[in-house]
């Protein structure tokens, strides 16, 4: 598939992923976790990646970071960063690439801090090893970073287990922006944050991003947040991209039935409680074809009449009908 998408503005793409295919080769079963995925992210662009749980989002992020471990194989495709071939980088190049160029907040952030070092020691470490700063200067910067993510700098002395889930997540966000990378990958960075803190931190990241011009690959299940923050976004299902467009267009005019289910399945904050359902039981998309352009910059994987049966419900009972109205607009 070689549909190349225009990225935000007229910038050169910073990251360009083409036809990426990743398999997990097991003894008994092999999974194609990512299947011919292409997208690119421009300089200063925030690109959102949404989709089913288990559809391959983290696998894509790990491929970009070259962090895939053994049973995983990049079976096809290319990843280039600022014109350099990421898949061909030497270990030495990779080391620099990972800290200076790209930083990632892992989905397991809460669990990824070193348990025997204080938060302060871990942040100071980043500055002394990768930016060559003095300990004193590093400590000062570490305090500022914690304030950025709304943690009292007194907590520099805390060990990870002494922080709440959301505080650990915030500490990791602080570490990721420490060296001002040109691409920031955020894999579910705010699952443990209340909406107030989430909004303020994301506003601050966006502020930083505008100022420093870095790009963001933003993975989240929170569709409202994604639409608010991303310029463009893609929706994945079963390892494939099923729809991509400007974030606002995906929100206002979702075309693929899976995207429609995603956009319609969040419960409202006002009005009566109505039963909702996600995808009705038994609905699966298989053999998803390549994307086709349905409007300028809006690409959707064509879906057949079989897939459309969702809209009518497969084994519609009264109850399910009511539920479906909520799910599919």
């Amino acid at each position: 598939m070689t549909v190349s998408q225009t990225s935000f503005g007229s910038h050169e793409p910073v990251l360009d992923v083409q036809d990426l295919t990743v398999k997990y080769i097991g003894d008994s079963r092999s999974t194609t976790a990512v299947d011919r995925v292409s997208f690119s992210i421009g300089t200063g662009e925030v690109f959102g990646l949404a989709g089913e749980s288990g559809c391959g989002k983290s696998t894509i992020a790990n491929s970009i970071m070259r962090l895939l471990k053994d049973p995983a194989k990049i079976a096809a495709g290319s990843i280039s960063f600022g014109g350099r071939d990421v898949l061909a980088m030497s270990p030495e190049e990779l080391r620099r690439f990972r800290w200076q160029d790209v930083a990632m907040v892992f989905q397991s952030a809460m669990n990824s801090l070193n348990p025997v070092l204080t938060i302060g020691e871990q942040i100071v470490d980043i500055f002394t090893t990768h930016a060559g700063l003095s300990r004193k200067e590093s400590l000062r910067r570490a305090g500022e970073l914690l304030e950025l993510v709304r943690i009292d700098p007194a907590r520099l002395k805390s060990y990870p287990h002494q922080l709440s889930g959301g505080m650990r997540q915030r500490a990791v966000i602080a570490m990721a922006v420490a060296l001002k990378p040109s691409l920031l990958i955020l894999d579910e960075p705010t699952t443990a944050l209340d909406v107030v803190v989430q909004q303020e931190i994301m506003a601050q990241i966006k502020e930083l991003q505008r100022e420093l011009g870095f790009s963001v690959l933003f993975i989240t299940h929170d569709m409202s947040l994604m639409v608010e923050l991303s310029h463009r976004m893609a929706v994945m299902y079963g390892g494939r991209i099923v729809e991509t467009a400007r974030a606002h267009d995906v929100y206002a005019d979702p075309r693929h039935p899976y995207t429609q289910a995603l956009m319609g399945a969040f419960p409202p904050l006002t009005g009566p409680r109505v039963p909702l359902s996600g995808l009705p039981d038994g609905v699966k998309f298989r053999n998803i074809p390549d994307l086709a352009e349905v409007a300028p910059g809006h690409l959707v994987a064509p879906f057949g009449a079989g897939d459309l049966s969702i809209a009518h419900g497969t084994q519609a009972t009264d109850d399910e009908d009511a539920a479906l109205e909520g799910a599919i607009r």
């Binding site: 809460m110 669990n111 709440s164 443990a192 209340d194 100022e211 569709m223 409202s224 399945a265 909702l276």
Partner: protein
Amino acid sequence: MSHSMLSTSTGSGPARTDTPALEVRGLGKSFPIGGLFSRDSVRALHGVDLAIGRGEIVALVGESGSGKSTLARCVARLERPSEGSILLDGTDVLKRDRFQASRAFRSQLQMVFQDPFGSLNPAHRIGHFLRRSLAIHGKGGRSETETQARLEQLMDTVGLQTDMLDSYPHELSGGQRQRVAIARALAVEPQVILADEPTSMLDVSVRIGVLNLMRRLRDEQGISMLYITHDLASARYLADRTAVMFAGELVEEGESLDLLANPAHPYTQLLVSAVPDPARAGSYDPVRRAELRQAVMASTSCAFDGDPDQPCSGDQPVRHQVGDPGNRHWVRCHLYRPRAGAGGHALAADPAAGPSADAGISVHAGPPASAHPRKASA
């Protein structure tokens, strides 16, 4: 000051008896922080009173670091509370099993942990965790065939394929692990489930499925739940009542629909105002935000001031009743604020706030590199 708020029935869920399934009274917890000889401590919980009726779902929302997980961990006996009591089905469990949770206790109450990446031992296959839960609590049936059928049924319930029983945790995505954690709690068929952010890594369409499942378990089996979440919309969708925690204390509680429609405490108002909504994208209003922050950190008036029936107090955490008593909606007096140094407090760590919150709050959105005035350490 324990209110018996459960006497009025909401009409949803099965009939309730008067003894709550779970009740905590005056629960408090402090953690020492700093070095070995430091006397600094964090007051993670203070004076928490909360009751969950049989077949009732209560959502617990609140600031990151406000003590929600600590409350759940205390109730699950993973953490020893500094004060207060925990009643499970009317029995004071801290007195009954003094030192650790008994197996009987674990059969009655199960917890789903916040971090799905830290809560599954990497050395075992998924099937092992579920099998073990079934075996310990005698729910495995009489034969291997029955156990296997039960395992497959559990996987199906949480929308996972049966062949994942043979997978190791590292082979699962974040959302898949979360569903294993839910299945593990369900395997035990407990009376009370404490679920700490159980669906935060699920896409909305799977999430709705899990929420519907939780509702069904409540309806069919009368299971009671504490549902900790940051997702106010899902709290509203699932929970009969919602309680709001701020800096280690409950500040407001009520029927979910009423509480979210008429939030009375400044912190709840702040929370509701910050729910992301693409329909009003870009409407983040720093001025309004600063006002609400000010009201949370240093309110100078209370809506109930002058009400002879509900006197205000800045010294005691009095609860004012909000609106119709049928909504079981109360708010803590705005004049009362948690003691400085309590909890993890993200609002207090605002780089914009000057040396003291009372000095007024300036609106700020600068780069982190600029030197901020250091907040006087609370």
